[in-house]
C-alpha cells in the first residue's frame, strides 16, 4: 500500500502472538476469542439440517461430499505440493467398491462404507503410486486422466453394470443420519488434517512442498511420505464416494464425473487455499449457489464462472485467509 506520509500499521493481537500453537489463555475473553470461530463453525454446520427444508437438506449432503474433496485437494496442493485433479477418481473408486459390496454381497452401508473407504484408498494410492515421482503439472495431468480412464475401462469391459449402473442399493434409514454422517465426517477430517499438518509429519510434508531435494538430502524418502499424504486424501475422497452411492442408492459412471475434480478446486480458490477451513466453507457456499442458479439453465455456468474469475483476479487469497487476517490482527494509522 502506497500512501502519503501515513502508513497503516498491522499488528497481531496479543493473544495471537502468545498462543500460536500453544494455548496460554489468561482470561475468559481470550478463551472466547479462541473458541468462538470453531464454535460458530461446528454449531453452524450442525444446526443447518434443522432449519433447511427437504430439498436443501439433500443439497447439504452433496455439499458435504464436495467439502471433503476440497479439503483433500487443499491439503495435497498446499501442504504436500501435489496438485491432484483426481477427486472424481477417489469418489468413483469408493462409490463403486461400496456399491458393489452392497449389491453383490449384501453388506449393509454400516459395513460397506468403512471397508470401501479403506480399500478404495489403498487401491487409489497404489494406482497413483507410479506417478508420485512426478511433480507439479505432470502429476496434475496424470491424476486428471484416471477418472476418464476408469470410465472407459468399465464401459469397454461391460462390468459393474456398465453404462447402466446398478440401482436399488441400500440407502440410509432416514435423512437425519444422511446429513449428520457427512457433517461429522467433514468436521472430523477438517480438524484431523488441521492437527496433522502441525505434527512432525506435517512439517516433512511442508518441506517436500518447499524443496524436495533438501528433504531428500536429509535422508527422508519423499515418495514414502507422498504416498502417505495421497492415502489420507484418498481415504477422505473414497469415503465421500461410498457415502454418495448409498445416498442415492445407485452407482454409475457419473460417480467419475468431472464435477468431482473441478468443483473442489473452485471451492478451494474461493474459500482460500492453504487455510483448510476455507475450502470447506467454499464448498458449502458454491454447491447451494450452483443449485440456486439452476433456474438460469445454461447461463448458470456463466454466472458461476464469473464468480470464480472475480475471485481469482481480485481476491486470489480467498475468503478465509482474508477473514482470518482481519480476526487476528488490528490496524492503525501511523505517521512516519
Amino acid at each position: 500500500m502506497l500512501t502519503g506520509d501515513r502508513r497503516k500499521k498491522r499488528l497481531d493481537r496479543s493473544i495471537k502472538v502468545r498462543t500460536e500453537g500453544l494455548y496460554a489463555v489468561s482470561s475468559w475473553g481470550e478463551m472466547v476469542y479462541l473458541i468462538a470461530p470453531r464454535f460458530v463453525l461446528i454449531v453452524g454446520l450442525f444446526t443447518l439440517p434443522l432449519v433447511l427444508d427437504m430439498y436443501w437438506q439433500r443439497v447439504l449432503c452433496s455439499a458435504g461430499i464436495y467439502a471433503l474433496l476440497a479439503l483433500g485437494f487443499d491439503f495435497l496442493a498446499e501442504f504436500v505440493g501435489l496438485v491432484c485433479l483426481g477427486g472424481a477418481f477417489f469418489v468413483g473408486v469408493g462409490g463403486y467398491i461400496s456399491g458393489l459390496l452392497n449389491a453383490y454381497y449384501g453388506w449393509p452401508p454400516l459395513l460397506s462404507i468403512p471397508v470401501a473407504s479403506v480399500a478404495g484408498a489403498v487401491i487409489s494410492t497404489l494406482i497413483l503410486l507410479p506417478c508420485l515421482r512426478l511433480r507439479g503439472i505432470y502429476f496434475a495431468i496424470v491424476s486428471f486422466m484416471f477418472p476418464l480412464f476408469a470410465v472407459y475401462i468399465i464401459v469397454a469391459l461391460g462390468v459393474f453394470g456398465s453404462t447402466e449402473g446398478i440401482s436399488a442399493l441400500a440407502t440410509f434409514p432416514n435423512i437425519w443420519i444422511e446429513q449428520y454422517l457427512i457433517l461429522v465426517a467433514v468436521i472430523l477430517s477438517l480438524f484431523g488434517i488441521r492437527r496433522l499438518v502441525s505434527e512432525d509429519i506435517g512439517v516433512i510434508f511442508q518441506g517436500i512442498k518447499d524443496n524436495d531435494q533438501a528433504v531428500k538430502a536429509s535422508g527422508i524418502n519423499i515418495t514414502a511420505y507422498r504416498t502417505k499424504a495421497v492415502f489420507i486424501t484418498a481415504l477422505i475422497g473414497c469415503f465421500g464416494g461410498a457415502y454418495l452411492s448409498h445416498l442415492y442408492g445407485w452407482l454409475g459412471l457419473s460417480l467419475f464425473a468431472m464435477d468431482f475434480s473441478i468443483m473442489p478446486i473452485a471451492a478451494a480458490v474461493m474459500g482460500g487455499m492453504g487455510s483448510l477451513v476455507g475450502p470447506v466453507l467454499g464448498a458449502f457456499i458454491l454447491t447451494p449457489l450452483s443449485e440456486a442458479l439452476r433456474g438460469f439453465g445454461q447461463l448458470r455456468v456463466v454466472l458461476y464462472s464469473l464468480i470464480l474469475i472475480g475471485f481469482i483476479v481480485y481476491k486470489p487469497e480467498g475468503l478465509m485467509n482474508y477473514l482470518q487476517r482481519k480476526y487476528h490482527q488490528f490496524e492503525l494509522w501511523e505517521k512516519v
Partner: protein, 250 residues
Amino acid sequence: MSMLEVSSLMVFYENALAINNVDLRCQKGEITGVFGANSAGKSTLMYTISGIILDIEKKERMRGGERVTVLGSIYYEGADIIFMETSDRAKKGIILCPERRRIFPESSVLENLKIGGILATRAQAKKTLDYVFTMFSPLKGLKKREGGFLSGGEQQMLAIGRALMAQPKLLLLDEPLLGLSPMMEEILVRAIEDINETTGITILISEQYARPILPIIHHGYVLENGVSVLEGTSQELMDNPDVKSAYFGI
C-alpha cells in the same frame, strides 16, 4: 545536476523498516557504490530504484502477504519516478542487473543477449553485442551454450552483458561479485570500470564485499540496517577508520 536523486526514501516490509530515510545521489557519468552487510537494505534499495518493489508490493497484496510501503521520492533526470512501472523505467534507461544473475537458463548466450536488446535499435544492438564480446571474451566461444550450463563467473558476465544490451543510461548492478573467485572478481571489476570509461554509462553498484569495488567508485555510501551512515568519495571512504576495520581488516 545529478542523474538520480533519492530523497528521504523509506521502505517498510509490513512493520519492519528496510530502508530508513536514505538520501542518495548519482552524478552523471560516475560510478556510485552502496556498501553494507547483508540485511542492510542494499537489495531493497535496488528494487526500489528499478521499480521491482512495485511488483513485489502488488504480488504480496494480492496474496494477502506482508504489506510493502514505499515513501519518499526518486528523481531521475528531474522527474519523480517513484510510482513508475519497471518497464517504463527500463525504457527511460534505468536497467537493473539483478542479484544472483537471473539469466534465462534455457536460452543460449546469444539469445540471452538478444532478449536484453529488445529495447535497442538494430544498429545499437550490433554495436553493443560487439562491445560485450570484446570485453567479455570468454563468452565469445560459448555463444551457443545454454545459459544454465555456464559457470558462475560466465553467468555474471552474461548478466552484465544482457543489461548493457538494453542501452542503459543508469546501470544498477546488484551484488555483481556474489560468489566469485578473486580472479573473476578482478576481471569483472575491470570490466565495470571499462564500461563506465568507454561508454560513459552512470553506474550504481551495491556490494557487500567492498574491498575490490572501493578503488573504482567515485562516490560511495555505507548502509547499516537501512540507514545511510556514511558517505564520501572513494578516498574518503578508504581512509575512514570504520570502513578500514570493517572491509580491510586493519
